[in-house]
Amino acid sequence: MALDSKIPNGPIADKWTDYKDHINLVNPANKRNLDIIVVGTGLAGGSAAATLAELGYNVKAFCFQDSPRRAHSIAAQGGINAAKNYKGDGDSVHRLFYDTVKGGDYRAREANVYRLAEVSSNIIDQCVAQGVPLAREYGGLLDNRSFGGTLVSRTFYAQGQTGQQLLLGAYSAMNRQIGRGKIKMYNRHEMLELVIIDGKARGIIARNLVTGEIERHSAHAVVIGSGGYGNVFFLSTNAMGSNATAAWKIHKKGAFFANPCYTQIHPTCIPVSGDHQSKLTLMSESLRNDGRIWVPAKLEDAQAIREGKKKATDLAEADRDYFLERRYPAFGNLVPRDVASRAAKERCDAGFGVNKTGEAVYLDFAAAIQRYGKEQAHIKGLDENDTKLVTKLGTDIVRSKYGNLFQMYYKIVDEDPYTTPMMIYPAVHYTMGGTWVDYNLMTTIPGCFSIGESNFSDHGANRLGASALMQGLADGYFVLPYTIGDYLAPDIKMGAISTDRPEFDEAEKSVKDLIAKFMNNKGTHSVDHFHKKLGKIMWNKVGMARNAKGLTEAIEEIAALREEFYKDVKVPGTDKGFNQELEKAIRVADFLELGELFAKDALHRNESCGGHFREEYQTEEGEALRDDENFAYVAAWEYKGKPSDAVLHKEPLVYENIKLVQRSYK
């Protein structure tokens, strides 16, 4: 099967407009006869459900949490990009497009990224109209801040809770439609299978997590907005329940899975404290606007700090190595995430790490506090040389910008970041890979769409900060509502789809068989036992730096672990009713397959690009070395029974508007 990305013809700036002018539309009366299932209620799923209902379709929305408002988009902190150019600092749609393609290390599809940049401004208008309280300046207009990988200030934000506010905006739009009866909401439901009839996605099998009942739901199209698969690493910044099951089930039914090895390791997370650790906590990248990252310049100082004999504040300026500022003078602490993460790992591997485990670097706000303090003292006509006063004034400003993040850090680590530098270390945060989709956001299964983090399309091999929120909302509010209409236009006379069809019987049976297998398996180890083992393999061999030997081992180890899992996993309780261990077992079963495909993809990609760093392919200075001649393509994998048999399909990436160069932030 040849991949057709369905990119419209014409100049890049006109593609989306031309496309919208020529697609099939469904008239309002007919929309009432069409049902759409949306799985996931984060920024992508929530905004899609709301808009599709607004347009008149009958929407059934599903989330595994107790309310759509809990989706993990809520935890996004820093901000959302938009090419508004309110600051007049030279921003434009083209520049946002360019930054995103470059930031993704030239592994994203140009046409999709351009469209994303094009609709980005609309998102901000939309959210303000919905009452999302974005940060404002004293004049009453919206404020912006800068983010990693760019030279303009285009990031809109709501303190450190931008994701929360945007998600609650989408949730409010959903609530309006739920109140009108246009969205039927299924909380505490998990999609466990896709139903395909005559080659088209026509429904799902879901488990009611409260009663344990297996339910059949039919629709004319199915939209997956179930997020990323970062929890394949067990420890990540994802929510505990974040899972790949919906995305993996459609993969097994024919949706190709693209670039699974493109994973983002976020540089500013709170370091691991011990074996009991259940998840990692991210602190917004916006901290790098004011925080300076460093490690001791001398090994003996690093060792003394690890042993508790010295403190960070004991070290004089000359004894500190601000390694990002040293290596990347132009971007300094604001280099993209993959670059910052690897640089921290490089220093820690060389023995300069600063916590007990040796896996932490400092993020220091002392300079920012002094800078802001002096500025405030000047504004207020106070003594700029009074250190105590300046520190107080500066601390107040830093608190107003990052207060909630500092409080979060304090509660977890039990150290005051206003007076002692924070400790940070990279952690798995976002997955750029996902189900392959064409320009219409449709997977290789007709009628099955994938939006937001669960698809692969816009971020290439590395996502820039504040771009995930932009993509989720762009897909849900502004892109899918057009493209799905074009797909559904021929179905207007079809009528409701019966769930008594044999395809539903078959899908339901496969779900029931899987559950029965787990419930009757009298194994000896909990689900978490296996999940943690998988996470260790992934982090050690498929993590921030990869090589052929480690990846080959990982593939074998994961396959063996999967076998052991099915033999020896123990799921207590019953399948009738609420059973969190059963929920986890089903999710981990899918991670155990996905992890292997992930490693296989990383092994086949003999180059380094963005978040995918192969030790064999680096420049003399240790930067990622791409191979555009052989790897400028999307790797889309087709499922063939097991991950080791997956078949590779290539979608060549053609750059007509941006010249491929080696990414440089120096």
Binding site: H72, V119, P133, Y477
Partner: protein
């Protein structure tokens, strides 16, 4: 640390439920409270017992999914945190810790420590939104300037995570703080003023319908709120409600 846990166990909504005592050892001060429960559940599973069900998701204090009434306080003894951000260093070796679900007539127990908070969602369906089309064809975001103080106050109200600690802490099981936070967010913004009258009437009506109690100004909700949502929001909602009633 060695601890005694007194945990509410209830098979399902119909079951009567009871407190059950457990012992646990090997807990470290750096663990979060939920990681302590993870360790407990691992022990239960290995011993062939059923693990305790509890709600949780983001484990960084923002999703609002975790709950728990710990030693008589919603989200436990620390201030300004959710249960998932509570750390065992707040407890001492040898302590006895009681763990119960958030209790309210409008929050029926699903299982053990898990409750059904969909009543909160239904209040939002009644008016927790601004009726704009989500097509994006609206006015430019900077067309209407918003006073920074109002924008900041609206933001503060909007940081409610919908966990239900206010209800669990209130002797009347009142949801006033939760509802007032949403009413305030919109009442403070020019975009939200258009529908302010209907919104407050509909949301308060739904709140009463769900069986939440009334507010008697004891202020326990504000103290226990992990996000520090202010009682001023309740005062604002009362003003909004009064003026809406007079208009109506």
């Amino acid at each position: 640390m060695k601890l005694t846990l007194k945990i509410w166990r209830q098979k399902n909504a119909q079951d009567k439920g009871a407190m059950v005592d457990y012992k646990i050892d090997g807990i470290e001060p750096d663990m979060s409270f939920l990681e302590m429960l993870d360790v407990f559940n691992e022990q239960q599973i290995n011993a062939g017992e059923e693990p305790v069900a509890f709600d949780h998701d983001c484990r960084e204090g923002i999703c609002g999914m975790c709950s728990l009434f710990i030693n008589g306080e919603a989200h436990g003894p620390d201030r300004g945190v959710t249960t998932c951000q509570l750390h065992m260093r707040m407890f001492n070796d040898g302590d006895t810790i009681t763990i119960e679900p958030f209790r309210a007539a409008a929050f029926p127990v699903v299982k053990d420590l898990v409750v059904d908070r969909s009543s909160f969602d239904r209040i939002q369906h009644a008016g927790g939104f601004i009726s704009v089309n989500t097509s994006g064809n609206t006015i430019d975001a900077n067309t209407i300037p918003v006073n920074k103080k109002d924008a900041d106050d609206a933001f503060d109200a909007a940081t409610c995570i919908g966990c239900g600690a206010c209800v669990a802490s209130c002797k009347n099981s009142s949801a006033m703080l939760f509802v007032a936070a949403k009413v305030s967010q919109y009442a403070l913004l020019p975009q939200g003023r258009i529908e302010a009258t209907d919104r407050v009437l509909n949301m308060v009506n739904q709140m009463d319908h769900e069986g939440f109690g009334n507010c008697t100004n004891t202020g326990a909700c504000e103290v226990e709120c992990p996000k520090g949502i202010s009682l001023e929001n309740i005062a604002r909602m009362n003003r909004e409600y009064l003026s809406a009633s007079l208009k109506g």
